[in-house]
């Protein structure tokens, strides 16, 4: 069986935030809570990147975050899907012209899916992650 399909049944996500306004992060957590309940799809939030299958990146990626994002991506066990969440992570968003913006995410690490929104709504998150799953299983 192909790896992506196996992976898609059980996605443990690690959450990386660098220079976001927090809303996307909160909405990620929100997606785990009763109304949206990501565990239905076998998605679980983990605390260590070494357990993760999917990295959810939020925020515009500032200078401090950029090096650490690369670092974390490198030490994560592969295969690892990367999802950019929110306008800032997708494009730099409102912060793009700032002197401290060194993003967006795809400038630093390869991204599998982009979930825009300011903040990305939990529905959008679920939709995005489902699409990652689909992409992985093909």
């Amino acid at each position: 069986m192909n790896k992506g399909k196996i992976l898609s049944r059980s996605i443990w996500v690690f959450h990386f935030c660098s220079g976001s306004c927090n809303n996307c992060d909160i909405e990620i957590l929100d997606a785990l809570t009763p109304r949206f309940d990501l565990e239905r799809f076998g998605i679980k939030l983990v605390g260590s990147i070494k357990h993760a299958d999917c990295m959810l990146v939020t925020g515009m990626i500032n200078k401090k975050g950029a090096t650490r994002l690369k670092f974390l991506y490198d030490i994560a066990p592969k295969p690892l899907a990367v999802v950019a969440i929110g306008a800032c992570a997708c494009s730099g968003g409102i912060f793009e012209p700032s002197y401290y913006t060194y993003g967006p995410v795809d400038k630093i690490i390869p991204v599998d899916a982009y979930i825009p929104g300011c903040p990305a709504r939990p529905e959008a998150l679920i939709d995005g992650i489902v699409k990652v799953v689909k992409k992985l299983s093909t």
Binding site: I6, R9, S10, P34, D37, E39, G47, K50, H51, P77
Partner: protein, 301 residues
């Protein structure tokens, strides 16, 4: 033959499958308590399957041999316990005198492996996790063993089969006063042995980011997960054999489910304790009660 017992039934494979189901029940019920839907039925197995296709990352400063061997040994030792405990139900000819103590000691090995493995990871957070796991082991083992003395006193036996025979004739040990006290305390200790809230102190997701398991990835983590699943079956069954026997009919499945629900309820109605509080509760709170239960047992109650 013994290899079949060990690998397939009632050893590794059967226990693993049952453990996966138990784990699913646990997660599903937890989700229901938390007003969520919960994972699909095969989720625990999906998780394991996924872990076994992942890459293994080994920390730079780790002691490789110990780091890699720990999960496997942990899993192998739990399989032995599963075989011993399971054979008592399937084929009592294989049982031997003193298997109770052997099981208790073998059940220590997973904790030991976790301590050694996480200590070898070279990560400060996992070292703290290891230290907490060790302290936790110390704190629950005292009360746990004290309680195990109750059936020993009552029956003068340290053979699981004989314990069950005794219970078949004289009624469950937990039906006496000392027995029920000891049983309740062992359930709490079991919670700690399983590393569930309120005793998930070594793992402490929100303090240590996974604590003892932080550096484990892929199959190595998978072995630990398998160990956890299997423990979720073995420990309750082990306790049932000792305290709430005999388990030979289909009713015993109900008994097991009752224990499982108790575990889940304890897990979901309590915050995590601090390690200091855990040690204090178990040493100064539960241990004296356990000693009382021994006294009661000596008095024949």
């Amino acid at each position: 033959m013994i290899l079949f017992y060990y690998l397939v039934f009632p050893g590794f494979l059967a226990t693993f499958i049952l453990g996966g189901i138990a784990s699913w029940i646990e997660r599903k019920l937890t989700a229901r308590i938390q007003a969520r839907v919960g994972p699909p039925f095969l989720q625990p197995f999906y998780d394991i399957r996924k872990l076994f296709i992942k890459e293994v990352t080994i920390p730079e400063n780790s002691v490789r041999s110990i780091f890699m061997a720990s999960p496997i040994i942990s899993f192998a030792s739990v399989s032995i316990v599963a075989t011993i405990v399971g054979l008592n139900l399937v084929n009592p000819n294989y049982s031997f005198n003193g298997d109770l103590i052997v099981c208790v000691y073998l059940l220590l090995i997973p904790s030991l492996c976790l301590i050694l493995g996480s200590g070898a990871a070279g990560n400060p957070l996992s070292s703290i996790g290891a230290s907490r796991e060790m302290k936790l082991v110390l704190s629950y083992e005292l009360a746990f063993w004290t309680c195990l003395a109750v059936p020993m006193i009552k029956t003068n036996e340290i053979r699981l089969i004989s314990l069950m025979e005794f219970q078949a004739q004289n009624g469950a040990i937990a039906s006496s006063l000392s027995g029920i006290i000891a049983f309740i305390i062992t359930i709490i200790c079991m919670q700690a042995k399983l590393g569930k809230v309120p005793f998930d102190i070594p793992e402490a997701e929100t303090e240590l980011a996974g604590g003892a398991y932080i550096e484990y990835s892929g199959p190595l983590l998978g072995f630990f997960k398998i160990t956890q699943y299997m423990m979720l079956v073995i420990l309750p069954v082990f306790l049932l054999q000792i305290f709430w026997g005999p388990i030979n009919s289909w009713v015993s499945i109900l008994k097991y489910l009752v224990l499982l629900v108790v575990i889940i309820l304890l897990e979901n109605t309590n915050p995590r304790l601090k390690i200091k509080q855990a040690v204090k509760t178990l040493w100064f709170g539960l241990f004296p009660v356990a000693v009382v239960s021994i006294i009661l047992a000596v008095l024949g109650l």
